[in-house]
């Protein structure tokens, strides 16, 4: 998985920092911002405010189906806090990522079930 970016560092935290710090967008969530970034959802580019979750990026892309259940039913986030796994999608090739717990990074590739 070659040049994977560490996800808990955000755009404004020092790269290569040896320990996570407070001084970053990490503690400020999604505030009114002029910082945007672009990632792809099912191959299409989506622009989102910095700090948005991957769940939000999928919603902003107009996608309502995050995963298909065992019997093929469409599913989307339920709990919003990382316990239900209904928001699971593939991020940069890794399956079963809880999209509500992952902050968008530039160039991320997100795939939902079809």
């Amino acid at each position: 998985m070659g040049n994977r970016r560490p996800r808990h560092e955000t755009a404004s935290s020092p790269k290569g920092a040896s320990r996570p710090t407070w001084g970053s967008a990490a503690d400020q969530g999604v505030r009114p911002t002029t910082d945007f970034l672009t990632l792809s959802v099912n191959g299409a580019p989506v622009t989102v405010p910095a700090g948005a979750s991957v769940s939000a990026a999928i919603a902003l892309a107009g996608v309502t189906l995050y995963r298909r259940s065992v019997n093929g039913e469409p599913r989307a986030p339920l709990c919003g806090m990382g316990i239900c796994f209904e928001c699971s999608v593939t991020i940069d090739g890794r399956a079963h990522c809880r999209s509500c717990q992952v902050v968008c990074q530039p160039g991320m590739e997100v795939r939902t079930d079809a």
Partner: protein
């Protein structure tokens, strides 16, 4: 409610269920006593691998006979039994193990078991997530995978349809040749009694030479197609064969759900069911040696179970030396799922004086057990 039966069976795991089904189908009146849930012991904890194994001629005969019984009934099972002929790959890491693969091929061929040798490139094509530079494998295409708790339930329902009674939620306090006394005090009298309680058999019938052999398993999230066959390292046989040291061996099973079941571990003398972190780590590291990509897969649950192990690695199927009407159907170690159907047949054969399809002597409780290494 009837309280007198031809056969009373203590234990509603897959072995007890298979015995009940065969006895009921043969016209005997049967009662099964099971505290619940059906298949809640090693049946639930194990891997559901239907496999021919050749640790000894008697093991080969029993697993081969039983696997044939499973194959003949493959189309009969409902969907939740999840019967699938995934086949087994016995994986050889080096040339020494490849020699063992070729020896096995000969043994299987002489027993009429379909098998073929895969070279390194064929192995990589068959299972792309195995690490490079393995020497090859023996492919046994008719080995299968099932979901055991639902198989046990199916066999028991089948037994019920043929008149068997199932006392679910009841515990057998003391089975004897005359019948079973329930913990509630009720007495079920029987012409013959069967102790099919697996690792708990010695608690019900003191003196049975069966020991608990703990195992660990891990199940992943869904990754359909990541593994196609049941993959077992040749060292698995050594691990199962040993009667002393704690051991792990690479053993991975694809479930119909797309989940991977990862084993295996063996420990004697561990009485508690809690996860043993060092053994679990050893087991998972061993698995990653064969399939490095496992590191990235999500594990959603781990658990343990207790196999019923005997000194000579063969089960106990037949009457107790001390009480001719008390039968044992236990001690199946890691082959309970595979050999459950044959156990039912061999047990019913002995109860009814029928000629068994294979010689029954190697499995009789009265046999002299050679302690294997």
């Amino acid at each position: 409610m009837a309280t007198s039966f031809d056969v009373a069976i203590a234990g509603g795991g897959i072995v007890g269920a298979a015995c009940a089904e065969e006895c009921a189908a043969s016209g005997l009146t049967v009662v099964v006593v099971e505290p619940g849930p059906i298949g809640g012991g090693a049946t639930a904890a194990g891997m559901g691998h239907i496999v021919v194994m050749d640790d000894s001629p008697a093991q080969l005969a029993l697993t081969n006979y039983s696997r044939t019984l499973w194959m003949e009934r493959a189309r009969e099972f409902p969907a939740d039994v999840e019967y699938g002929a995934a086949g087994t790959l016995w994986v050889a890491a080096d040339e020494r193990e490849m020699a063992e693969v070729r020896r096995k091929l000969g043994v299987y061929a002489s027993a009429g078991v379909r098998a073929e040798v895969l070279g390194p490139r064929e192995l990589a094509e068959a299972e792309p997530h195995l690490r490079p530079a393995l020497a090859g494998a023996l492919r046994v295409p008719d080995d299968a995978v099932i979901y055991p708790p639902c198989a046990a339930r199916y066999l028991l329902e089948h037994a019920r349809e043929r008149g068997a009674a199932v006392r679910l939620g009841e515990s057998a306090a003391s089975p004897s040749g005359q019948g079973i006394r329930l913990r509630s005090g009720e007495w079920l009298s029987a012409g013959a009694t069967v102790n099919a309680t697996g690792a708990w058999a010695p608690e019900l019938t003191p003196g049975i030479a069966v020991r608990k052999r703990k195992g660990h398993l891990v199940i992943t999230g869904r990754y359909p197609g990541w593994v196609r066959h049941q993959l077992v390292e040749l060292g698995y046989l050594k691990s199962a064969h040993s009667s002393t040291a704690d051991s792990v061996a690479f053993n991975v099973q694809p479930r119909r759900t797309g989940q991977l079941l990862i084993g295996s571990s063996r420990q004697y003398g561990a009485e508690h069911a809690a996860i043993d972190a060092p053994i679990l780590t050893r087991m998972l590291l061993r698995a990653q040696e064969y399939m490095p990509g496992l590191a990235e897969l999500s594990a959603i649950r781990s658990w343990t179970g207790f196999r019923a192990a005997t000194a000579d690695k063969l089960p106990l199927i037949g009457p107790c030396p001390a009480d001719a009407r008390l039968y044992l159907a236990t001690g199946h170690e890691g082959l309970g799922i595979t050999t459950s159907l044959a156990t039912g047949k061999l047990l019913a054969d002995q109860l009814l004086g029928r000629r068994p399809a294979i010689p029954v002597e190697p499995y009789l409780p009265a046999r002299k057990q050679e302690e294997h290494g």
